[in-house]
């Protein structure tokens, strides 16, 4: 541990509170509260479990979410017709609304409607040839939006433990699962550290003010990234110790406290998404 001393000068205070209770502040944020490989404290785990209990019944299985993502990608791949695209977009928005993400749903719906309308503009008829740039971009964005819809759905409604459990069920190698756990666990820490570093910089009058960071980009990068990296190395050590004592390195099957089950709704969602896509590829919808 002799190596970790220099990092203390800048970021030692950020490590005293090990895990900010992300669950309490942002219910939609990925919450790490896993019995199988858990790093989080009991306090956050309890609140997370409470609000997961009523949420888990209203979202789809993580594997279904992955399937929806794949379907959205297939749409992009096969250049589906406009009618199919609209049907699919509505289908993708339904689970988002059911999960109670109303603002996200409305935002996506409005964005999609606006870009579809823009894509249908005829620059020739309006006599404004430069509108082609807008129109082309709108068509492109409309194609990308279903991917972002399903992505937002997957991101905001999946708890970390459900994600991990489903990855294990899908036989994803442990070498990929463990880094994924750590990535999800580490995001709040990065945000917290960043705030601390900016405070420390402001105290010394470095890069303060709105444009301070932009004026010396290389310096800003160095002054922010190096403490983050210093801290990352110490956190990696701490996490390793914590995880190994909790049995993350055990071989064999790991159990999970989050129940993951494919229910009728999941199969229904998969079939519902595949019908318009299949019809389009078969050439029924034009």
């Amino acid at each position: 541990m002799q190596s970790s001393f220099p990092a203390k000068s800048v970021t030692s205070d950020s490590r005293t509170s090990f895990q900010p209770p992300a669950a309490a502040t942002a219910p939609g944020a990925p919450v790490f509260s896993d019995g199988a490989g858990g790093f989080s404290s009991d306090r956050t785990a309890d609140t997370a479990r409470l609000d997961r209990a009523d949420r888990v019944s209203r979202t789809l299985d993580p594997r279904t979410k992955l399937f929806l993502l794949l379907a959205a990608n297939l749409m992009l791949f096969f250049h589906v017709a406009l009618a199919t695209q609209i049907i699919m977009a509505i289908l993708f928005l339904i689970p988002l609304a059911v999960a109670g993400r109303w603002r996200l749903t409305v935002n996506f719906a409005v964005l999609y409607a606006v870009f579809t309308a823009l894509g249908l503009l005829d620059p020739e008829a309006l006599g404004l040839p430069w509108l082609h740039v807008v129109s082309a971009l709108a068509v492109g964005t409309t194609m990308m939006l279903p991917c972002f819809m399903t992505g937002a759905y997957a991101f905001t409604t999946t708890s970390a433990s459900a994600f991990i459990c489903s990855m294990r069920r899908m036989r994803v190698p442990e070498a990929v699962v463990i880094p994924c756990v750590v990535v999800i666990r580490f995001f709040p820490t990065i945000a917290e550290d960043y705030r601390q570093i900016r405070n420390a910089m402001a105290l010394r009058g470095i890069a303060s003010g709105g444009w301070g960071l932009v004026r010396h980009p290389a310096q800003s990068l160095e002054y922010i990234l190096i403490p983050l990296l210093m801290n990352a190395t110490t956190v990696a050590q701490d996490l390793s110790v914590a995880a190994l004592t909790k049995g993350l390195g055990r071989e064999g099957e790991h159990t999970s406290r989050t129940p993951i089950r494919m229910r009728a709704v999941d199969w229904l969602a998969m079939v519902a998404v595949m019908i318009p896509l299949g019809l389009d590829i078969a050439g029924v919808i034009r």
Partner: protein
């Protein structure tokens, strides 16, 4: 074997030796077989995977920052320069990861994890393929230099940076889509060619060249930072 482990001065191995001793642990077996070499065990252990995860998280944040900057600078065409800007700023992360790990597989796993997160956050599925192929190549190149050779590490960083081209590939798919939608509305081919006079393969090559240049600068900057801060502190 015990003595060999504790003589390694690296922090990762310190924590690994703190691990609860599990009978039949494959890592122990692995060190047992490679006692002839004084180097670290070749296989990735849990501690290494956690290190990779931490660095992958930082790298992913860098990619997000790059997306933001790229969107601000280039307006609607947003992500054309995403890989280039990401390459410019995340050299430190990459170089420190390689210096900390020094094992085959680390770069590959990081690429796969990044690709997975890009896919889940709604990027194109092809980005997953790119983020497996290029990191594996980068890993092989870095291994050729035993994760020490500066020049080879720089090359490997450049190759790794191309792994991020996945998210921008749909731009060329989108072009096809717009052409299709124009044809559906009865425009003739010559007209369509005129529309795409400046959105062509030229931008593709510019974007690819930008990745090369930016990755070289970013990697060099990363190595400089590594020398300046981490080697002195005994971390790398």
């Amino acid at each position: 074997m015990k003595h060999n482990r504790q003589s390694v001065e690296n922090g990762i191995d310190l924590t690994a030796s703190n691990a609860p001793i599990v009978p039949n642990n494959s890592a122990d077996l692995d060190t047992g077989t490679s006692t002839s070499a004084p180097a670290k065990p070749r296989k990735l252990e849990v501690a290494d995977l956690i290190t990779i995860g931490v660095f992958a998280a930082l790298y992913f944040v860098m990619v997000c920052v790059a997306t933001l900057v790229s969107t601000l600078f280039t307006g609607g065409f947003g992500s054309i320069f995403l890989p280039a800007i990401a390459a410019l700023i995340s050299g430190c992360v990459y170089m420190l990861l390689v210096a900390r790990l020094g094992k085959f597989g680390g770069i590959t796993v990081m690429g796969v994890v990044i690709g997975l997160f890009l896919f889940v956050s709604g990027h194109f599925v092809l980005s997953f393929i790119a983020s497996i192929v290029f990191p594996v190549a980068a890993d092989l190149i870095a291994r050729a230099g035993k994760y020490k050779s500066k020049a080879l590490l720089l090359v490997s960083y450049v190759v790794f940076s191309y792994g991020l081209t996945g998210p921008i590939l749909p731009l060329w798919f989108m072009k096809d889509a717009y052409v299709a939608s124009l044809q559906a509305r009865g425009k003739d081919a010559a007209y369509i060619d005129g529309v795409f006079a400046n959105i062509n393969t030229g931008t593709f090559f510019i974007s690819m060249a930008a990745i090369l240049v930016c990755a070289l600068i970013g990697g060099w900057f990363g190595q400089k930072m590594l020398r300046k801060h981490f080697v002195k502190a005994g971390i790398a």
